[in-house]
């Protein structure tokens, strides 16, 4: 009984997604070259074709309804893909470095046991982040949260808070800059 229900659901989902994809797929095909060029500009290199394929698979699996601005959606998804990819490359590199540092340490030393150290690290990090964020003008932090956590557009925030577009932009710059500096500080800590 349970199996029968599940099978029905799966086939419904598949049919549903195909219907919505046809329009988007056409726009994807039309933008194939600009998208490839975009991925390469982000440093995709020889993987650009593969990444484009991965991008489409992701989009096809995600999209379940009509999209307001399909071209923007495709480039946005490509941007996120490249940010994820370059981040995991950077992380892998960092792990290699950490690992070689760790391997040099003497066995049995307290520094070799990662768990209490890491836990302390987590608390220290959060406290540091909290202290640094408190230095920001509250308006800038509020704009950042609305924009990046709640997903409001810059125009919506400007309208709601009665501010100009350039004020929103300069507040966001302030927060991004601080986050980058803070991230570098955490690496050194």
């Amino acid at each position: 009984m349970r199996d029968a229900i599940q099978t029905a659901q799966w086939s419904y989902r598949a049919a549903d997604s195909i219907m919505h994809h046809q329009g988007l797929q056409q726009i994807f095909e039309e933008n194939r070259e600009p998208l490839l060029r975009y991925l390469r500009a982000h440093g995709a290199g020889d993987s650009a074709e593969d990444l484009l394929q991965e991008l489409w698979l992701k989009i096809a699996a995600t999209v379940s309804g009509p999209i307001a601005a399909p071209r923007n959606y495709l480039f946005r998804a490509a941007t996120n893909l490249m940010i994820d990819r370059r981040r995991s490359e950077a992380q892998a590199q960092r792990r290699d470095v950490e690992w070689s540092g760790l391997a040099d340490r003497l066995p049995g030393s307290a520094a070799n046991d990662p768990s209490p150290e890491r836990e302390l690290d987590g608390r220290r990090r959060l406290a540091l982040v909290e202290a640094e964020l408190a230095k920001l003008p509250p308006r800038a932090l509020s704009i950042f949260r609305q924009h990046r956590i709640d997903g409001c557009t810059q125009r919506e925030i400007a309208a709601a808070m009665g501010l100009s577009a350039s004020t929103i932009e300069s507040d966001l710059r302030l927060v991004y800059r601080l986050l980058a500096e803070l991230r570098e500080k955490l690496d050194e800590a």
């Binding site: 099978t7 598949a14 992701k58 909290e130 557009t153």
Partner: protein, 304 residues
């Protein structure tokens, strides 16, 4: 040196612009990136840092923002109005409305529930936070991990299908697929159906049920897997393949559909989300199944 800092300023401008959901200048942005590989490096340094810091910003107990402090709500409200009049009207008022959160397949999102309380959403998950303090979670579909560590907070209520769960200071994970609900408790305890059965599911136990079930029974569970989706690892001990495949769909964004015959088979082991994403076919030997391309996804069947 000056050149590098100019580049960083330009990258900062582009990050501000491209992060806006309404940004449409992709050709212009491509041209800037193409000017030099160092431009892309500068942009990605900033974008990567921001992406890494975002969960921390979300996790910071909003001492800096009185409007996000539900525990001392009424007091905070007064202080908030004085100190941050503009922000308070903009944010406090909508707090009372339910808010929808959703993630696409393969996306993991952390939602702060105030203080140190966190809700982590796995991919392909839809939920609504309701109630005055937004401490009622209506889980439509998908998988969530709740880390409730803030002392003195109101209880969290999670409702999915016809099942209600109430936390007793805890870390637990809930998955919802179709009419089925899975609960795994790794710390503290959860009360299931508080008004009826009032079943206490303690740390180290799980509850598997579906809408319309008349009996609720807790079972021992392997809790090392609780929240493992957040680390990109999926661990199972004798888990029905139907659940495993639903988890894989959520975490990879790949449309895996199992045949009815294999859904009830069981799997024990650990899967790496990144590896499955890179090579979906690697599941064949791992799960002991056969795979076939079907549209944009994969159809999973029994081995011949």
């Amino acid at each position: 040196m000056t050149h590098d800092s100019d580049r960083r300023e330009a990258a900062l401008d582009w990050l501000v612009r491209t992060n806006d959901p309404e940004f449409a200048g992709w050709a212009e942005f491509t041209a800037w990136l193409e000017e030099s590989a160092a431009n892309a490096d500068a942009y990605h340094a900033l974008a990567g840092y921001e992406a890494e810091m975002l969960p921390l910003v979300e996790a910071v107990p909003a001492a800096a923002e009185p409007t996000r402090q539900p525990q001392r709500r009424r007091l905070a409200l007064v202080a908030g109005v004085v100190a941050f009049a503009a922000a308070a009207t903009a944010i406090v008022a909508p707090r009372m409305m339910p808010v929808d959160y959703s993630t696409g397949p393969g996306e993991v999102r952390i939602v702060s529930l105030g203080g140190q309380d966190q809700l982590v959403m796995n991919g392909d998950t839809k939920l609504e936070l309701a109630g005055w303090d937004r401490r009622t979670v209506q889980l439509g579909q998908g998988q969530v991990l709740l880390r409730l560590r803030e002392p003195g907070q109101d209880k969290i209520e999670l409702i999915t299908g016809d099942l209600k769960l109430v936390d007793v200071g805890t870390v637990f994970e809930v998955s919802r697929d179709g009419p089925e609900t899975r609960l795994l408790v790794s710390e503290g305890a959860v009360i299931a159906d508080p008004a009826g059965a009032g079943l206490k599911v303690a740390a180290g136990q799980r509850l598997d049920t579906q809408d319309g079930a008349t009996v609720l029974q807790a079972m021992p569970a392997d809790i090392s897997s609780v929240g493992s989706f957040e680390r990109g690892q999926l661990s199972y001990l004798d888990e029905p393949l139907g659940h495993v495949i639903a988890d894989l769909r959520r975490s990879t964004g790949i449309d895996f559909s199992p045949s009815a015959a294999i859904s009830t088979r069981r799997f024990t082991g650990t899967l790496s989300v990144a590896e499955v994403k890179r090579d979906p076919r690697s599941l064949e030997p791992l799960l002991g199944i056969s795979m076939e391309r079907s549209g944009q996804g994969w159809r999973l069947g029994g081995k011949v």
